[in-house]
């Protein structure tokens, strides 16, 4: 059976190649015959030979591929519904729960995972039916797909003629394929929203959405074991949002001045040599994986802050928001600096010259002419950086706390949305509980917040960007 499947797959991929060769030879032959018969006025070939070949292989492959994909998507449903009715006929059982057990057992039996002695005799009886069903379904697929391919072959072969506009057809198909490819972006977004919203809606059945968004107490201590009291089990996400915002704010306090000033210096003051060294160095910071930053934060920055903090009399928690925020700021620096660099460079030179002509010093030119002109771009860069900091995971997983404290003190430990998603999904709790589902609700919030920030950034650039040309 497997061999036939492989052969089928090979055939599906070989047939287009054959069709390609056939298409080329046919058009060549047609040209030769037409040149011989209509010697007085030879027919001009509309498209190049290669396009006729390409057209034929596309006509053979694409419909067959569509059929295979549809089959992969829908066949399992049809097969299992047939199976359920067969089993219920054999066993006289109607309870859908029991029937689904039988079906899963039967599938395991068919795969060879389950030994026959573990299953009921009725299920064993159904095995023959099942394997015949699958064999029939497979053969049905093979026949239909190959028939479609052959039909595509015959239809396209008939069209091949010197006047046939094969190139136009091929180009239309290519355009359609490209359209589909750009549709993947939309599909991804829809996929994200659907998958998050589905699980999140199950969460909101348990916890009201207003409590989730506006509650100030986060403590997902729902019972792990039956008969165990979990604790308050509160799902008010405000402390998480506050923690995320605080860490993001600290990161921005570090990253915006350093990133912006280095962009200004590099594009306005720096010599070419310094620029050639400093730019790649900053880009290097951007290329460092976040897990590295996390390790750095936990093992270098946090102990350093803690030790020095106690020297000057500050009470720092060892998982302070400060450590995670600072390291996240380091991660954001290259992001801000390279985006601002682009924006500053796009301010036209004549603005600078004009300011100089009025007697402004370079610093005055920058602060009073260039930066205002570049402001929309810079603001949008900062917004993008914020959305990035909010969604950053590894640094906070490794360096920030997991306790949901609602505090404004950066020396205390706070937790973030992303930390909680990871904690909730890889913890020891029961999986289908509100706890796990809360992760998806948090993911949904994260998605919408970053979406809003991006749309806002885009809007600012579009609305306020100066047009110079």
């Amino acid at each position: 059976m497997e061999l036939i499947g492989l052969m089928f797959l090979a055939l599906i991929f070989l047939m287009p190649l054959g069709a390609n060769i056939y298409g080329r030879t046919r058009i060549r032959k047609l040209m030769i015959t037409s040149a011989q018969t209509q010697s007085e006025e030879s027919v001009k070939q509309h498209s190049l030979t290669a396009f006729h070949g390409l057209f034929m292989s596309m006509c053979v492959l694409l419909p067959a591929l569509v059929i295979i994909l549809c089959w992969l998507a829908f066949a399992p449903m049809v097969i299992s519904s047939l199976l359920v009715s067969e089993i219920s006929r054999l066993t006289g059982e109607t309870d859908p729960r029991l029937l689904s057990i039988f079906v899963s057992k039967l599938e395991a039996l068919y795969e060879g995972v389950l030994k026959a002695e573990f299953v009921e005799p009725e299920v064993r009886q159904a095995l023959g039916y099942y394997s015949a069903l699958i064999a029939r379904a497979n053969i049905f697929l093979y026949v239909v797909a190959i028939f479609t391919a052959i039909a595509g072959f015959v239809i396209s072969a008939r069209q091949i003629s010197p006047r046939f506009a094969a190139r136009d057809k091929v180009e239309v198909i290519i355009k359609r394929l490209m359209q589909l490819a750009s549709g993947v972006a939309i599909l991804t977004t829809i996929g994200i929203i659907l998958s998050l919203a589905f699980e999140a809606s199950r969460f909101f059945d348990v916890v009201p959405i207003s409590e989730f968004l506006f509650g100030t107490h986060w403590s997902p201590q729902i019972a792990i074991r039956e008969g165990q009291a979990g604790g308050s089990g509160a799902f008010g996400a405000i402390p998480l949002f506050a923690g995320t915002l605080m860490i993001t704010f600290i990161a921005m306090l570090l990253a915006v001045p350093i990133g912006l000033m280095s962009a200004v210096y590099l594009s306005e003051y720096a010599s070419k040599r310094l620029r050639n060294i400093a730019k790649p160095a900053i880009e290097l910071l951007a290329g460092i994986p976040t897990v590295v930053y996390g390790f750095f934060a936990a093992l270098f920055v946090a102990p350093f802050l803690r030790n020095n903090g106690s020297v000057i009399g500050l009470e720092l928690s060892s998982e302070s928001a400060l450590a995670a925020g600072l390291v996240m700021g380091i991660m954001i620096i290259p992001f801000i600096s390279s985006l601002s660099d682009d924006v500053i460079n796009s301010v036209p030179q004549n603005l600078r010259d004009g300011a100089s002509a009025l007697g402004a010093t370079q610093a005055e030119t920058i602060t009073q002419v260039i930066l205002p002109a570049a402001l929309p771009g810079i603001v949008s860069a900062i917004l993008l950086a914020i959305s990035r900091a909010i969604g950053e995971t590894m640094i906070v997983v490794m360096a920030a706390g997991v306790a949901a404290n609602l505090t404004a003190n950066p020396f205390e430990s706070v937790t973030t949305v992303t930390v909680q998603i990871v904690m909730l999904l890889v913890g020891d709790q029961e999986f289908d509980s509100a706890k796990t589902l809360a992760a998806f609700a948090l993911g949904l919030v994260l998605f919408f917040v970053t979406l809003m920030l991006n749309v806002l950034a885009l809007y600012i650039v579009r609305k306020y960007k100066e047009q110079y040309d």
């Binding site: 991929f13 030994k115 979990g230 928690s317 998982e319 913890g427």
Partner: protein, 358 residues
Amino acid sequence: MPETKAFQLNFTKLISNIFIASFFLLGTTFVASARDQIVIVGSSTVFPFSTSVAEQFGRNTEFKTPIVESTGSGGGLKLFCAGIGLEHPDVTNASRRIKKSEFDNCQSKGIAMTEVVIGYDGIVVANLKSAATLNLSLKQIFMATAAKVPAPGCENDCALVENPYKMWSDIDPSLPAKKIEILGPPPTSGTRDAFQELAMQGGSKSFPTLNALKKSNKSEWKRIVHTVREDGGWIDSGENDNLMVNKLIANPDAVGVFGYSFLEQNADKLKGSNVDGVAPTFENIADGKYNISRSLYFYVKHAHIGTVPGIKEFVEEFTSENAFGEEGYLIDKGLIPLFEEERDAIRTQGVALKKLEL
């Protein structure tokens, strides 16, 4: 333009290359090969032991090294109970026993399993070597960690108040005058679960008020004795990770709550506090003198035995004296062994694949 010559790609060729590559991708993906490797999921606490056994197993038998994924006990059981078939795991580790609801879910999928207890993990309260050793009682642990405690200085029928103890010396003058700062596992962790069950609930028994509450309103009592304070005295922290040691080093006043195996690995930096006068040593935990210890488990899916090669042998390896015995290699990893009779019983049951009933 000589430079761009190199990129004058033949696009028909490029497309056909992509075509062939995707053929191979599709081909190898749809032809599901029979799995010849055990797949293990589950608790992060059992992970170090499970991986050690997996490695030894791969090294010393003709089977391939099993794959171990750390998903947490709950996540592991969910994957384990998802069904029978090669795409589902064969074994799941748990740092707690399977719940009745999880078991029923498993049963409804037609999954029969064997439960294997592999040993104990003590939960220790530890701090830095340089700091003073704490001599705690379970009662004091409860007073330091619970969210609500009976009002101080009151014997019977006390009102429950928000935990007023900020310093260890507030609890008992014999304890150091340091701020209570406990780094402990997060609520999602099995270690936390066991700590609440064993240490806090155990400590609550010293309060007549709470014992009275247990009789009158059991669910309320459970809620009280299992709820960890959230006012900063307890700091949810990672579980069994190196980062925690650094956090403790950075903060000599803080104490940490984690598994014994972790204390043993860091014996040069950390020391365990005595609980009810018993030090958290290997011997004390193994003998049951130390109060806060829990069992670790793994579950084996029956239906996969004989299909995925080596499952039975893996159980044999895990339950061999060489592994979980008193001098086995798991002991070096910090596992506390069961008593000999228990080990023998477990081995016989495990190898015979006794079906778990709840």
